[in-house]
Symmetry: C2
Subunit: 340 residues, 2 copies
């Protein structure tokens, strides 16, 4: 067991057993978040080259050190396995995992839906949660509702920060109004060093004018550096294709064209260039127009605002799963449950 | 049917049939909110002296006009009935009601729990929602969980503004943090004329130093006027006994002593003396201390922020009920569903 926490055997047996698929910046942050939780335990982690699985729990620090030094958690002794089909293999081996966080960059756009299909095919039953961004990817997942139901999987989609925490805040804020006119999400992200979040930064570039997700993905690190040099490390993003729109539409709150997502990412400064917020404007039953605002504290990182909600939704999904409620739900429909 | 909306017979048959118990300021506002909804229809209303019930829907304007001119919806022809036990009678008569909003002042403190017991006794099955305020009242209701389960009732408690919308926002905001240090709810209420919300203002006075709910309830209108004259119509409330604390504790978010509720009520000015907000301060997994803030638009009234969420929770409760999930849930656990 890791020295960073003491989970006794009683806690281990009652804790929710978690797998993290993807071990880049987001997956590593997820593992760190789990290290402080009593109610959840990291038992499986997978990256492109391998996976690690230990029923009694993985050591987060060792997983991260191994990944960073050798390029895969599969090198971790004695619990690691190197394989070119790490996701399929970990699903197969780690049947006792209760829920997986899909901390995968969704490149190409149908990658996470294809991973969901692997889970369906495997016969595994449990909870899946993603922090996916794009509308079209969430639409693909929503279309898989009946397959997921039949497979006994409870899938929670769009459960990061945006979409996720901010979408849920918008759904909540909407309650005061008879009609919603506009939902405006504006995020500020500050990261000291873009290389710690290569995939995320490439996804952001994919939203900029003149780029697509595919062209951004194909950029070399030097090309990304060159782009960032031109903008002093700042990426300004407008009218992004973010699934907040379809999620609020499916939840019956407003048409998707009333939802906008944009933001500013500073890749050279951990200080946020602006406070991340969502503004919900509507008309009350008395005919008044007003705006509710939910603002995230500047000291909270993208990792905290994505991974915290993701595990909160995973816990909520597990409660649904235990009641026999399968299928797919978005962050706008379900209240995440706080994980101690 | 009221001219304020056109609900065709198809809509009526699929709409959720709502009863409103209590027809003071809050109950009347609830009826107005419902008048604009397609998914819900007001079929029953009750006050201390009588009730009105019409399976095809009540006319909100007529209900309010009758109540205001004659003192009871029971005078409404031909759908009204005068009775000294209006709640018991309406439950008996109006079995097809899907859900009730208990828009009742909770005086004495066990009044709403006693109403819940009437529902249990009657054999009625459906959804109940309250906008109750006090911690001790919510505790009484939470203790009735098994009785409610056995009765086939899904009870949603603490589903107004605070507790309710703001408690849910706190539960959501908490997700970014590993530990919650403080939840601070501060409300501003502006009402042009306190007499429109007599019961609510008396409940607020009951929270002031030197008063209890019982002494406030016993005050004559002249005595309330005299008190308000001394404070220029402004009531400043601190460390109120609000159920936000027990609701966040039961949801596992933090101990109740970390939750505070206070506010300023201006009884002579519809403009809010301050913007209602909830601040959630915690520590992230990285050890950062930060604060998320959810702020309500000043133009939204207490009525909009209470009745909107209440019906959103009623709709969510109905989904639980239809899945056979009975018992009691708080606003901190369940995402309200937007009612069109």
């Amino acid at each position: 067991m890791s020295s960073e926490k003491v989970k006794n055997s009683l806690n281990i047996s009652s804790a929710i057993r978690i797998g993290v698929l993807g071990f880049g910046g987001l997956g590593q942050a997820a593992a760190k978040v789990l290290a402080a939780k009593q109610e959840m335990i990291l038992v499986a982690a997978a990256d492109q080259k391998g996976y690690a699985y230990a029923a009694e729990g993985l050591n987060t620090q060792e997983c991260i050190a191994t990944y960073q030094s050798q390029g895969s958690v599969g090198y971790l002794e004695p619990v690691g396995t190197l394989t070119t089909q790490s996701i399929q293999d970990v699903i197969e081996i780690a049947q006792p995992v209760d829920g997986y966080f899909l901390a995968l960059p969704n490149l190409p756009n149908d990658f996470i839906p294809s991973v969901a299909k692997e889970f369906i095919k495997s016969g595994w039953r449990g909870v899946l949660v993603d922090a996916i961004k794009r509308t079209t990817a969430v639409e693909q997942l929503l279309a898989m509702k009946e397959e997921l139901q039949a497979a006994g999987i409870t899938y929670m989609t769009g459960c990061g920060a945006t979409p996720g925490l901010l979408t849920a805040a918008a759904a909540l804020a909407a309650q005061s109004y008879a009609e919603i006119h506009q939902v405006e999400i504006t995020f500020g992200v500050g990261i000291a060093n873009w290389e710690a979040y290569r995939a995320t930064v490439r996804e952001d570039i994919g939203h900029m004018p003149g780029y697509t997700v595919e062209t951004a993905r194909a950029m070399t690190d030097a090309e990304v550096e060159a782009l960032l040099d031109k903008t002093n490390g700042v990426l300004t993003l407008k009218n992004m294709e973010h699934a907040d729109d379809v999620m609020l539409e499916v939840a019956g709150i407003c048409d998707r064209d009333r939802v906008t997502v944009g933001g500013v990412v500073d890749t050279r400064n951990p200080k946020k260039p602006l406070s991340t917020n969502v503004k919900v404007t509507g008309r009350t039953f008395e005919g008044k127009i007003s705006t509710h605002t939910f603002t995230l504290g500047d000291e909270t990182s993208m990792a905290a605002n994505v991974c915290g909600p993701a595990f909160g939704y995973l816990k909520a999904g597990r409660q649904l799963h235990q009641r026999g409620i399968y299928g797919i739900f978005t962050a706008a429909e379900i209240m995440p449950q706080f994980v101690r």
